[in-house]
């Protein structure tokens, strides 16, 4: 085993992961085609599957580009990238720069492309965190370093929260946490941080679910209602009139619609599924067309390909994630290891939250499923993230 490791004939890239990613891309195009069948009124190059394929190509190119430069050189630019990302996150909140869609300021309209800065901020954050934490272990024991690491996490977190995009913001937390943990920050710091955060979240939930309206923390209305849906809370207040109650019921129906329909899609797929493009939930519009191809693409796959399809998707992600962990283990230094760990945690969080949301394990948040959901920013970032993993793998022996 040792000999093989050192032999020069070992492949320079990890083909297993590349195959898995390729498989995911094929599935992605196939089911975006199913969720968004070609329409006659749109030019062929504007059809969803075609656009997605173009993003795949661009993403693959970006990943290859990333691999051309040693991650050490890349990491030197991490400070620039981080602050660029922060600037973009601020810019998106400005009225004439950001684009307002679906109730949030998440995009910058570049004409051909709706840039979603939060996606790139995640990558920049991984870089800066890895760069910051790859210092001697003694320094990591200092509380100030730990506080600075937390600060690096909180800044983009708050900005993304302001958009509002709770899901994307929340994803930063496990990424930051796991990276500090793997870097070797004393666990007592982490324990304190996690328990404090836990108490805070518990208080927040109690407040949202049970406190009288005047006492409730100012949360976006839709966020509160999504949590209500998740916890099955009655929308109508206790002392409401029949008309109010009816309105609340309608609201409840509207708000829980996506979750309910996604669950019906996934469940009705059964073991074998109904077959590609045979899903009724899309054909009949029960699964809303505006989310079917992006946030809820998994329920399309699950309905049409059943439990088998779900297992296939999970397996492909497992290959990617565990290859990433292995690459982290094989990295030649802490920077490489932390980059790999950050990327793995990011991808895993997306997969877990998105699929969990489809089967009601998690509340609804606008988190895309890496490589499968339609969307340029998400695809680009996922492929760049995969490129980072390959980069760490490629340059593992360059002492």
């Amino acid at each position: 085993m040792f000999e093989i490791h050192l032999s020069g004939r070992q492949s320079r890239v990890d083909w297993g992961m590349i195959l898995a990613i390729f498989g995911l891309m094929i599935i992605g195009v196939a089911f975006i085609y199913s969720a968004k069948p070609p329409s006659e009124t749109t030019a062929w190059y504007n059809q969803f599957p075609v656009r997605q394929s173009m993003w795949y190509l661009m993403g693959a190119a970006a990943a290859v580009g990333i691999c051309l430069i040693d991650y050490h050189s890349l990491a030197r630019w991490s400070m620039v990238a981080y602050w660029m990302a922060i600037l973009l996150l601020i810019a998106v909140l400005l009225p004439h720069v950001g684009a307002y869609r679906l109730g949030a300021w998440r995009w910058i309209d570049l004409g051909f492309f709706q840039l979603q800065p939060s996606e790139f901020a995640k990558l920049a954050f991984i870089f800066i965190q890895a760069h910051f934490l790859s210092r001697p272990t003694e320094e990591l024991r200092q509380p100030t370093v730990f506080v600075k690491a937390v600060g690096l996490t909180v800044l983009p977190f708050l900005l993304i929260l302001k958009e509002p995009d709770l899901g994307s913001a929340l994803v930063l937390l496990p990424v930051g946490l796991v990276m500090t943990y793997v870097a070797g920050v004393p666990t007592r710091f982490l324990r304190r941080l996690v328990s404090a955060a836990g108490v805070l979240v518990a208080l927040l939930l109690v407040d949202i679910l049970f406190a009288p309206p005047a006492w409730q923390i100012k949360l976006e209305d839709y966020q509160r209602r999504r949590l209500w849906v998740y916890f099955n809370r009655d929308f109508a207040a206790d002392k409401s009139t029949e008309a109010e109650r009816q309105k609340a019921r309608l609201q409840e129906r509207n708000d829980s619609w996506n979750v309910k329909q996604a669950l019906i899609s996934v469940g009705s797929g059964g073991f074998w599924g109904k077959g590609w493009r045979q899903g009724q939930q899309i054909a009949l519009g029960y699964l809303p067309p505006i989310v079917a191809h992006n946030d809820f693409i998994f329920s399309v796959i699950a309905e049409e390909k059943g439990f088998l399809g779900s297992v296939l998707v999970l397996s492909l992600y497992t290959v990617v994630l565990f290859t990433g962990i292995r690459i982290a283990g094989q990295a030649r230094d802490r920077l490489g290891k932390l980059l790999a760990v950050g990327v793995v945690t990011l991808l895993f969080s997306h997969v877990f939250i998105n699929i969990g949301m489809n089967i009601r394990l998690m509340p609804v948040t606008g988190i895309p499923l890496p490589l499968l959901s339609y969307g340029g920013s998400s695809v680009l970032c996922s492929l760049i993230a995969a490129g980072i993993l390959q980069n760490v793998y490629l340059y593992r022996r360059n002492y």
Binding site: G267, L284, L321, I325
Partner: protein, 660 residues
Amino acid sequence: MLIFDQLRKNDRQLQVLAISVLSGLGLLLLGLWYVQVLSAKRYQTSQINQSFRTVRIPAIRGKIFDANGVALAENRPCYNVNLYLDELRPYFRSAYSNNLSWVMRQLTRTNSKARLTHNQRIELGKLTRYQVVSNLVYRVSSLLHQPVPLQDTKFLEHYDQRLFIPMPVLTNLNPTQIALFAEQSADLPGFDLEVQPVRVYPHHAAAGHLLGHLQRDDSAADEDVFFNYRMPDFRGVVGIEGAFDEQLRGRNGVKSVLVDSLGYRQSENVWAPAEAGQSVYLTIDIAIQQAAEKALHSAPVPYAGPVRGAVVVMDPRNGDLIAMASNPAYDPNDFAVRLTQERAEAAKLDDPILRPQINRAMQENYAPGSIFKIVVGLAGLEAGTLDPNEVYHSPGFYVIARGHKPIDDLAGPGDFNFRRALVKSSNSYFIHEGLKLGVDRIAEMGKRFHFGERTGILPRQEAPGILPTREWREKNLGGAWFDGNTANLSIGQEIDVTPLQVAVMISAVANGGTVYWPRLVARTEPQDPFSADQAVKFPAGRVHGELGISKNSLNAVRGAMLADVEDAEGTGTRAFVPGMRICAKTGTAQIQQGRKTIGHTTWIASFAPFDNARYVVVVMIEDGTSGGATSAPVAQQVYLALQKRESQPKPTKPESLVKN
């Protein structure tokens, strides 16, 4: 595991990460297993529930035929114009975007940043759809030259609740409109012509009471399946339509409509086709029925307005009903669509005196008057208390006991033997004989004819009549039976019968003593010859009982009845038809209110021919002058029609050809 082997043994952090990721993925796998494998059925069901609507399709109702295969009740196609809203979706969309841009232009004129709220957009959508539909409906209405009202509330209700079925726009098109629509509706999107069967009674009021009528029925009482929508269906309420509703109705079918999330129809699938109902074949001859109705209609009654009465024509050899008329009648067609208030008033359906909904031939009790003397006479002859040749001298009235009011006798004073007493209908003679017999023996003879019992011809539409006995009087009127009561019974008062019961009685007298169950329905037969349903035959000549009366007694009565028509002094001479040898007994029963006579129920109960009876004709007319004057001419008309039918060659009845 492959990856764990490759991790350095002392790299605890990565191991923790690997285990966390693995358990996270494992959790997802378990969740997916639970949702997609363990709960798959549940979600599949809820998917079906939310995307399928079931529609109940009524079956085509069976027809009703007379004895010769003439249709008395059938179905005619009714053409309706329906609008399929799902086909209008492109029009909704383009109209909406036009409206929206117009609204935005208006709004931005004053405020460039104005936007529509979500609810305003929904409202605009609603208005747009109504606008599109009402424009289209207006075009159809001008095409068909008929104003079509389209209420916005009705439209919205349909849109909200029944989007999966087409919206009815115009019903019951006339032939011109059908032609216009077929020619020119090509450029009208979404409209379609629908054919629905509508019950039609080609002979209108003829046999209306027997046929009964339908009523709109949208109840789900008989079904255990839930339907999202029930297409209009009808239920028979009275008459044959009511009694044979189950057979006539057939079995409904089920259609499922696949709908999208907005409720628009996507596709349809008939799960179970409707099975047409069975046809019912009656024993009635519509020609005789119509003759009887016509005769009844023109009866010489001493009052203005429609004649109130009934005619029963029966075959005494087996109890088959040939005709059963009741006047005033109603046209069952009036009920077929939906009885409007005006039509109900025009038909005087609720008039308390005319009561056209009552079938007077079987649904109403009448005192038989003198025709009951046949029963009293037979009882006396059988008991031996009556000697047909013994002569009784009548003073022209009858006094039961000293101080009692004398009972009138229109036969006048004179000497009467049995024959003359029956021909002249002498009250005194029969009171004399009745008192000799006593009530028990008269009632016993009445029981043999099954008076006081329903004949069971149609359920819930028959009066049983009253055959009084001592016990009955004690129980119901709370008094003892006096001779006065016997005297009244002897001349057919204090007893209630229906014309149908009288027809059964006369049949028994005519056929030599067999009391038949009257028969109205000969058989039911599936419309579809390949149906799994079997034809059901109702055998003719079901015997209810035998009179057990000697030939001599019957002959004495029959002879007297013949003389009633053929002797000059008979009361039934106006029923005479040359060559028919009609035997009859007339009756004029007094209807009393307190001590005052307020009217007469006038009867004739007859059969013919004398020696080989084939017909029994019973006529009852309310408030007539007398049986002989009012009812006998009606019977004569009926016999003339029967005679005419005999002289005509019987239609060689290829029933299978006549059927459809």
